[in-house]
Symmetry: C2
Subunit: 337 residues, 2 copies
């Protein structure tokens, strides 16, 4: 008896250790979304994933049909005080100004260069298009890719003083990874420029260029110094917003998503299109209601408008509204630092 007791103790210690490890592992496996508070939003995600991945269940969806689409601005990364692509365009106007002396007297550039953003954008859609064309066209696709890559590596957000690629929502990055771990293919479907996103989405979100859908300008194949290039033309090709989102999804993906995530009126039709398919569906909208950690805006905002009509439709159709304040334990990874 005396001899076996120490052995038993050691053995029991190992059993205990094994139980501790197992419970840690289990608790990890049960919390793939650590930046989400326990609540209805998190629950709607985990319940949806559980049922569509459960073989034999009536809600089971084969992996190749597990398509999830995500808006970008305001859904995966911040969009205030201005869409980041617009901030990029403004930086480009400043950088290009020496080559364009005529901009000193030509609107919207003159106002922009004087720092009067309000006056510059007062020209509405026409002014915006002029800025986009001046900064996004007239170069090859390879040249534009480098311009974007250089900017994104150095520019910083005016409020957070961090690279824009750090102003991404940690809960959504976890959600993307969680869906992919469950056999989903994740796509971006954004009103933003497709070529503005592709240089960095793989690194930041784990979403490769071929799974990015966005707005685009026309390009033209031509030979330059005996080498083929794609020139970016001063003409819109496709606007991937509102009714354009289902069109873009159909054109690029060719399957209807079973889950879609947005944050504004621009995402309404993508969520409707997703819901209209048969079988289990998940539609979610991020609501920016955290003025302390991020920004609070909605129906009155020109950037990322979340209208009362959208809120009404969300409630009527059973879409889940994510409250940043209540549902997100952490918004940005840098908060933890």
């Amino acid at each position: 008896m005396f001899e076996t007791t120490p052995m038993k103790t050691i053995h029991n210690k190992f059993v205990l250790l094994a139980i501790v490890i197992a419970s840690l592992t289990t608790s990890y496996a049960q919390d793939p979304l650590p930046s989400w508070n326990d609540g209805p939003a998190k629950k709607s995600i985990t319940e949806f994933v559980a049922k569509v991945t459960k073989d034999g269940s009536s809600d089971f969806v084969p992996p190749e049909e597990r398509i999830a689409t995500f808006d970008n601005d305001g859904t995966l990364w911040c969009e205030q005080p201005l869409y980041f692509q617009l901030l990029f365009a403004l930086d480009r106007v400043k950088a290009l100004a020496p080559q364009h002396p005529e901009w000193k007297t030509k609107e919207p550039f003159a106002a922009l260069l004087k720092g009067d953003l309000k006056a510059a954008l007062g020209g509405g859609e026409h002014a915006m298009l002029e800025i986009i064309v001046a900064t996004h066209a007239g170069m090859t696709t390879a040249e534009f890719e480098k311009i974007v890559a250089d900017w994104i590596a150095t520019a910083k957000h005016p409020k957070f003083k961090r690279p824009y690629t750090e102003c991404v929502y940690q809960p959504m990055v976890e959600l993307l990874a969680y869906l992919r771990a469950n056999g989903f293919k994740t796509f971006i479907v954004s009103g933003g420029g497709i070529e503005f996103m592709r240089p960095w989405t793989e690194k930041v979100y784990g979403i490769p260029p071929e799974q990015v859908v966005g707005s685009s300008i026309k390009t033209k194949y031509e030979m330059r110094d005996g080498k083929p290039v794609l020139m970016r033309l001063s003409e819109m090709n496709f606007i991937d917003d509102k009714t354009g989102k289902p069109v873009g999804i159909n054109s690029h993906i060719g399957r209807r998503p079973i889950a879609a995530f947005g944050n504004s009126d621009g995402d309404q039709q993508m969520l409707e299109w997703t819901q209209a398919g048969s079988g289990a569906r998940l539609m979610m909208l991020v609501h920016h209601d955290d003025a302390v950690r991020e920004f609070a805006y909605g129906a009155e905002s020109k950037i990322g408008t979340f209208s009362d009509a959208l809120m009404t439709e969300a409630k009527k159709d059973g879409w889940t509204v994510i409250s940043m304040k209540d549902d997100w334990k952490t918004i940005f990874a840098f908060e933890k630092n």
Copy 2:
């Protein structure tokens, strides 16, 4: 000594067995392309794949950049005596004729319905477009998908008397699988209609809808009986042929292919675009020179023109020309039956 001999024998037998199994495995691994004759075409494929997948080699390409693009008509499946999509359109004209009494006197429909294909197509591009619009537009994307799926399940090739999905090239089906087994992502980049291909490419080629790039007509999101639909409009959106192929590749994939496969002048720019990237590249053209087993055509053919200029460029730029007669042991899987 006597005691150990039987053990040695058994041991040696196991060693022998292990060698036999290993050599069988190796020989299988060394012939992933059984329908290809040993020759320069097969060699250029296997050597290319070996070098871009060899970790540490200067030609190594990480898996996410292993993009291979394939033309469809004449490259993955047959395109004679007419593009299969045109044969589909002709069948649709016949099926829709009762609802269009005006077609009895309206060209190109009148000639078509009398069986005079030559007169009908004599109207050139305009006549072709009229036929496409009449048969491909005016319904929802879901309705069109069903029309294509029904047709492809029942229609038969006029010469081979087989479903069109059996008139695919067995060596290319093996090549697609071989590339995917080596970490490649395979895409179709075809002048054919994107929505005409997607209903069957996954089953036939293992290529999912989101990896199909093709020509398209415009679609419009609208509500019908309270449900959202995408209506197919009578307006071209994009022609994915010639200079359109690099444009389509850039728009859909957002990366330059490292391997591209075609068979006609329509593929010239796709191969140029592929070759213009840095690092190891593979460009191949199928040459239809087997009148016995398939069809022999080239510079003089209106369908799948392989001009002398293309042949000259192929030789100058080191593109591999595949001779169906010499390089393909089997052309169609049904030959083996």
